[in-house]
């Protein structure tokens, strides 16, 4: 009989045996979205891929974007949780389970995108029967399979003691099948010393091994593009660029998922501000690295004087992909600011007139109106004066200044709501990273060498299947956490023991330095 803390029992175990109406409603809505997606897919299989908006030269499009996006999200989990385990970050304990679950389900849905994209899905076994290891697609099959199998093991191993805890602490009115599920999954776990030693060893080994696998997965996805000779793809930095983007979007997904779980189950005492702050710092770092890579990649194309490559870049900067490119850039800057602003703004800032949400709203609206005038959006007022080049430049500067003012004004509001701010940043980055994949795959597809330049707008089929895939991912996630604890019970309990032991150790205060001016100054912001 494995014991369980009363707090854990109430907060984590009890919800697994309740079925609230909101859960049923959510499952129904998601199932409906999935059903629509499945119907669209059945139509696509029956009629042919012609029902999509793909054509020559746009042979790859939304499904491929989704594939790269979902595999990117899958780096949320295993990689982050493995790195945190290996480095012994104590604060990881309440969020590892959520992170690892994201990995497994994102990999499932991501791999599905490739099958959806295939002209002959019935010939999928050919990749195993006649697979050519020289093809980057085979590399991908190998690495994704290894990553999936190791991720599912990595999710399961820490779940085993929890399944045993659930088995021993099932309420008497729990359904028999659920009880049986935990009995089977616990694999006869008794929690004796030998078992703990073996489990910890297995997790430690797996955590180390899984890091190179995760890095390889996203590198190989980038190499599917980078090993071709197509303009804009043939880049040496695609491997690390994609890995950084994947970890970045992974943290974004983790932000949304852990906030959702925390809110739905009321886990404020488990997933606290410490988790948000530390992950936020990792997020800010990834954001900076991502910007660096993006800049480096585009600078190389801009100055390379390659006649085929420059049109690809031009289409992003001011051509047909300018909207998605600049929305992506804006989303990333906003995500950066949303997490950095609370660190920079002094506590009493809200008293200054500049830092008022009302002002932020006003400046954001001004920026929007100015932008509307500049873009000649029909609804916006037209100002003939803005047609001269100098006035246009001044108006663009105005848009940027107004956006910066809005950023300043909203800062104290964000500082007061760290969880909301983090969730906003997570959402912005997920949208931004989806667009980033779009901005990498589509401009090259529409700007080939010997085919006239094309324009691509996704068809209804592609939109419905994309929505269905997102719904499938959410459904898998929600249903999983209906039956399994969203916080690793034993790891949190272990953390408490460690914390308690630490609190008993008295660390002597450092001796005051004789040279006062050498003392490190603490910058208080």
């Amino acid at each position: 009989m494995l014991a369980i803390d009363a707090r854990d029992k109430e907060k984590i175990v009890a919800p697994l045996f309740r079925t609230p109406r909101a859960f049923v409603l959510l499952v129904l809505i998601l199932s409906a979205l999935i059903a629509i997606g499945v119907a669209a897919y059945v139509r696509q299989v029956t009629l042919g891929l012609g029902v999509t908006a793909m054509d020559r030269p746009v042979y790859w499009s939304t499904y491929m974007v989704n594939f790269v996006f979902f595999i990117g999200i899958s780096h949320a989990g295993t990689l982050i949780s493995a790195i945190l385990r290996v480095t012994g970050a104590e604060w990881r304990r309440p969020i590892t389970r959520v992170a690892e679950a994201i990995t497994v389900f994102a990999l499932m849905v991501g791999t599905l995108q490739i099958v959806i994209d295939m002209g002959r899905p019935d010939r999928l076994p050919f990749t195993l029967l006649y697979g050519r290891l020289q093809s980057p697609i085979l590399w991908d099959i190998v690495s994704v399979t290894v990553y999936f199998l190791s991720s599912i093991t990595y999710l399961y191993l820490p779940l085993m003691p929890d399944a045993a805890i659930l088995r021993d602490n099932c309420p008497s009115d729990a359904p028999a099948w659920q009880r049986k599920l935990y009995i089977v999954l616990a694999l006869g776990w008794r929690g004796n010393h030998e078992q703990w030693v073996r489990l910890e060893k297995a997790i430690a080994v797996l955590a180390v091994l899984i890091i190179p696998v995760a890095v390889s997965v996203h590198s190989i996805i980038s190499w599917i593009l980078a090993t071709t000779v197509q303009p804009g793809w043939h880049s040496t930095i695609f491997g690390p660029y994609f890995v950084v983007g994947a970890i970045f979007s992974g943290i974004g997904a983790l932000f949304l998922a852990m906030t959702g779980v925390r809110k739905a189950l009321g886990l404020e005492s488990y997933i606290g501000l410490r988790q948000y702050r530390n992950l936020g710092l990792l997020f800010i770092a990834m954001n900076a690295i991502w910007f660096y890579f993006t800049y480096a990649e585009h600078l190389g194309i801009a100055t390379g004087q390659q006649v085929e490559e420059f049109p690809v870049l031009a289409s992003k900067l001011w051509g047909s992909f300018a909207p998605t490119f600049w929305v992506m850039a804006l989303a990333m800057v906003a995500a950066f600011w949303v997490l950095v602003a609370p660190l920079l703004v002094p506590a009493g800032a809200a008293k200054v007139a500049l830092f008022r949400p009302r002002l932020a709203l006003a400046s954001a609206s001004t920026a929007l109106i100015l932008f509307g005038i500049l873009q000649r959006i029909p609804m916006a007022p037209t100002l003939a004066a803005l047609d001269t080049p100098n006035a246009t430049t001044a108006a663009w500067v105005g848009v940027i200044v107004m956006l910066m003012l809005a950023g300043l004004g909203v800062a104290p509001w964000l500082k007061a709501r760290p969880v909301t701010a983090t969730a906003i940043a997570g959402g912005l980055v997920l949208a931004g990273m989806w667009l980033e994949r779009w901005n990498i795959i589509l401009p090259t597809m529409t700007h080939p060498r010997l085919i006239p330049y094309a324009v691509y707008t996704p068809s209804l089929t592609e939109i419905l299947i994309t929505v269905g895939s997102l719904a499938l991912f959410t459904l898998l996630f929600v249903v999983f956490f209906k039956f399994f604890p969203s916080v690793s019970i034993w790891e949190v309990a272990e953390g408490r023991v460690i914390e308690e032991a630490r609190s008993k150790i008295v660390v002597p205060a450092p001796e005051p330095s004789e040279a006062g001016w050498l003392r490190p100054r603490r910058f208080k912001l």
């Binding site: 042979y59 002959r120 697609i137």
Partner: protein, 242 residues
């Protein structure tokens, strides 16, 4: 060894698109509706198009246009980017240098269409269809065996297809030579586009035979290959105008 190659003399080409039409009937490439063609879904194994493809400041504006016409079969590259990426060996370069496409192996991932810098590969977005009189007069030739379907055989939907240098004609010529009990000669076979060319601008033959027309013409100072900078080493050699 044999290395099948084609020489296209752009000085003689009148851009009549006869090669395109001959290819269509020889190889059973389906005609698509005008709406589909406008969306870039037309299948033209042998395409004729203005060159440069996308107008730039160098191509000029009417009436001072500097555009030329280009006719383009599959390049059958010595170093083909398409075969390297195929996950299932549905496309490969055979020992005679032909880049082949097996319709019953292709899984429709379209990696080869993405990898080809020339855009010679086409995907069957829908199942092919022909109007009635055409449907009755399809070319019956094909290369077929267990797990292999090549040549003009009608393609199922969802697979990739491309110019084969009329590989069925090669098979037939070989079979004829064998039936007549003699050695097969390199000049016994030409693809349909070469046979039909109005301006007699196309030549076909074996690049490994020092006496063949293509080997002689390859030495011409007018000879060039398309997108040489990509390193594909095409076996379609163009002779520059002028």
């Amino acid at each position: 060894m044999t290395r099948w190659a084609m020489v296209i003399d752009l000085e003689k080409c009148v851009a009549c698109q006869g090669c395109s039409i001959a290819c269509r009937f020889e190889n059973n490439t389906p005609a698509v509706s005008p709406e589909q063609a406008a969306r870039g879904r037309a299948i033209r194994w042998n395409d004729v198009f203005p060159f440069p493809v996308n107008p730039t400041e160098d191509t000029g504006e009417y009436p001072n246009v500097k555009a030329r016409y280009m006719t383009r079969p599959c390049m059958h590259c010595e170093n083909p980017p398409c075969t390297k990426v195929c996950p299932v060996l549905a496309t490969y370069k055979d020992e005679e240098g032909l880049v082949r496409q097996n319709y019953s192996r292709c899984i429709g991932c379209r990696f080869c269409t993405v990898a080809c810098p020339y855009g010679v590969r086409y995907f069957n977005w829908y199942a092919p269809q022909w109007e009635d009189p055409l449907a009755l007069r399809l070319n019956p030739d094909r290369l077929e065996s267990r797990g292999v379907l090549e040549g003009p055989a009608v393609r199922p939907k969802g697979v990739v297809e491309k110019c084969t240098f009329c590989i069925h004609r090669l098979a037939k010529a070989r079979a004829r030579a064998e039936a007549e009990g003699r050695a097969f000669r390199g000049d016994e076979y030409v693809p349909a586009c070469v046979q039909t060319c109005t301006g007699k601008a196309r030549y076909f033959g074996d690049l490994d035979d020092p006496n063949s027309t293509v080997t002689q013409l390859e030495k011409s100072p007018r000879a060039f290959r398309l997108l040489e900078e990509v390193g594909t080493h095409p076996k379609v050699i163009y002779l520059r105008e002028g």
